[in-house]
């Protein structure tokens, strides 16, 4: 299978790899997927309490190159956005940015789910009502 240059770039130079303190009240953690499906994404955001802006985002992904690239791209996009802006990120945006083929669309869906799960975790920690889960 041929990978797009953008997928290769994220695979070879993944952005924002790592972990944030999941017990920090300002950190939201989303973990989606399952090992037997071949994809697990962990995505974390850290929200600045004063500005409401996502200051930092980290990821770790077990999955194919497209899954790694989707989550790496997601962390790039998350940084500097407000939580509400982050919720507007759609899997189709990831598909077009990375030029994912149809068989890899599920990687982008997983990344969108990870973003939503991380935001949900953050909101619950902040005492807000949980988001309705699409999946």
């Amino acid at each position: 299978m041929a990978y797009s240059n953008k997928v290769l770039d994220h695979y070879n130079h993944p952005r924002n790899v790592g972990s944030l303190d999941k017990n920090d009240a300002q950190v939201g953690t989303g973990m989606v997927g399952a090992p037997e499906c071949g994809d697990v994404m962990k995505l974390q955001i850290k929200v600045n309490p004063e500005t409401g802006i996502i200051d930092d985002a980290k990821f770790k992904t077990f999955g194919c190159g497209s899954a790694i690239a989707s989550s790496s791209l997601a962390t790039e996009w998350l940084k500097g956005k407000t939580v509400d802006e982050a919720l507007a990120i759609k899997n189709t945006d990831i598909v077009s940015e990375l030029a994912l083929p149809p068989v890899k669309i599920h990687c982008s869906v997983l990344a969108e789910d990870a973003i939503k799960a991380a935001i949900n975790d953050y909101k619950v920690k902040q005492g807000a009502a949980p988001l309705l889960q699409a999946h």
């Binding site: 989606v32 997927g33 090992p35 037997e36 770790k60 992904t61 999946h135």
Partner: protein, 403 residues
């Protein structure tokens, strides 16, 4: 630079000596081996008969017991369907194993639709069949046991001689798909009591598109219903003008394999063991799939836990290997062979098959080991699963989000 080729279970590079032997049969000796009344036919026939002797010599058979085919898929089809049709009055039950190649499994599935009953034996954790289970599966309706000699993914060698003995005792025919074994380890149809045996040229440094089926002529004399009708070539078992250059190549490949096997298998085993030792020394949580004791000398199949197979292949794109991961196959299912060993989908997703061959070098082994270690280490830094395991979390207890 072309990738280093470590996928010799898929196919092998044609040996230049084989090519040299084949070349005259494309041009000056172009005759039809079935032409009985002129020199062109005679020299083609002579070349075909020489090849028959070379193949027979490698597997301990008589040259008259070799039937040429287009490859092992055809040999397997001819053996299994040919027996099922020929012996339909005797019974309709076939026994095979879950880890067979699709050319055997799908042939059996086809026969099930035609009224045959097929038992698919499970394998033990080491990849071998349980002989007691085989014994228990044989009924008075059983006409054929088809169990491969060595597996194409995990290289595990089945207890072929024991199966042959059991089949003989119960009066059941025994077919073995031996494409991965012939030319690599000693195979002898007398000692193993095999009745039908499939081989192909391209897995042993010969050309693609040519293979053979060994069909026992004595004790018992095996009969087959032809699956290809026509001019009655190959004692009526396989019609079609013989692929003389290909057949010459198959014969030459067998002769070279026979002469060089002791040295070559030792060299490949040494290289394979070196690769394994280096990977195991540098990486934790790596697992061998299948028996190491009963295994082809040039095969290594390992799972690199917490690293997904396709991302691993992406990182080693200058090495040609294959993975048991779903993402590399069209079916979206991880390897059924690894699953038959009892591996979970998660471990099957992390497996890599290394198939060494005649043209690989020690330097390539070291390059592959270095590269594998670097890429696995990098991907584990990226792996949430590896992180969780290092934190002491039991992954089997985690509530994963179904997808």
């Amino acid at each position: 630079m072309k990738p280093i080729y470590f996928d010799n279970h898929a196919t092998t590079q044609l040996d230049p000596r084989v090519l040299q032997a084949m070349l005259p049969y494309f041009t000056e000796h172009f005759g039809n081996a079935a032409s009985r009344n002129h020199a062109y036919g005679w020299e083609a026939e002579e070349a075909v008969e020489k090849s028959r002797r070379q193949i027979a010599s490698l597997i301990g058979a008589n040259a008259k017991e070799i039937v040429f085919t287009s490859g092992a898929t055809e040999s397997n089809n001819l053996a299994i369907k040919g027996v099922a049709e020929m012996y339909a009055e005797k019974g309709n039950h076939i026994i095979t194993a879950a880890t067979e190649h699709k050319a055997v499994l799908d042939t059996c599935k086809h026969l099930e639709k035609k009224g045959c009953r097929v038992t698919y034996l499970p394998v033990m954790g080491d990849g071998r069949i349980d002989l007691d289970m085989l014994r228990g599966a044989i009924t008075d309706q059983t006409i054929l046991i088809s169990i491969m000699y060595a597996n194409n993914e995990i290289g595990v060698v089945q207890p072929v001689a024991e199966i042959g003995k059991m089949a003989k005792e119960r009066g059941v025919l025994f077919h073995t798909d031996a494409v991965q074994a012939v030319g690599k380890i000693p195979v002898n149809v007398i000692a193993d009591q095999v009745d039908l045996l499939s081989v192909t040229a391209h897995k042993m440094y010969g050309p693609k598109g040519v293979g053979a089926l060994y069909v026992r002529r004595k004790a018992p004399r095996v009969q087959l219903t032809a699956q290809m009708d026509g001019g009655g070539h190959e004692r009526g078992m396989r019609s079609g003008t013989l692929n003389v250059p290909g057949i010459v190549g198959l014969g030459e490949a067998c002769a070279i394999a026979q002469a060089e096997m002791p040295e070559e298998s030792q060299r490949l085993r040494g290289m394979r063991d070196r690769l394994r030792a280096r990977l195991e020394a540098a990486l934790d949580e790596v697992f061998i799939n299948g028996s190491m004791e009963h295994r082809l000398p040039h095969n290594l199949n390992m799972s690199f836990a917490y690293v997904e197979g396709e991302s691993l292949l992406m990182g080693i794109d200058d090495i040609a290997v294959s993975s048991g991961s779903a993402c590399t196959s069209a079916t979206l299912e991880p390897s059924y062979v690894l699953k038959a060993l009892g591996l979970g989908d998660d471990m099957a997703h992390t497996s890599i098959r290394f198939g060494l061959g005649r043209f690989n070098t020690e330097a390539e082994i070291d390059y592959v080991a270095d590269k594998m270690i670097a890429v696995v280490t990098k991907l584990r830094e990226l792996s949430p699963l590896y992180e969780m395991v290092k934190e002491g979390i039991d992954l089997s207890k985690v509530q994963w989000t179904a997808h």
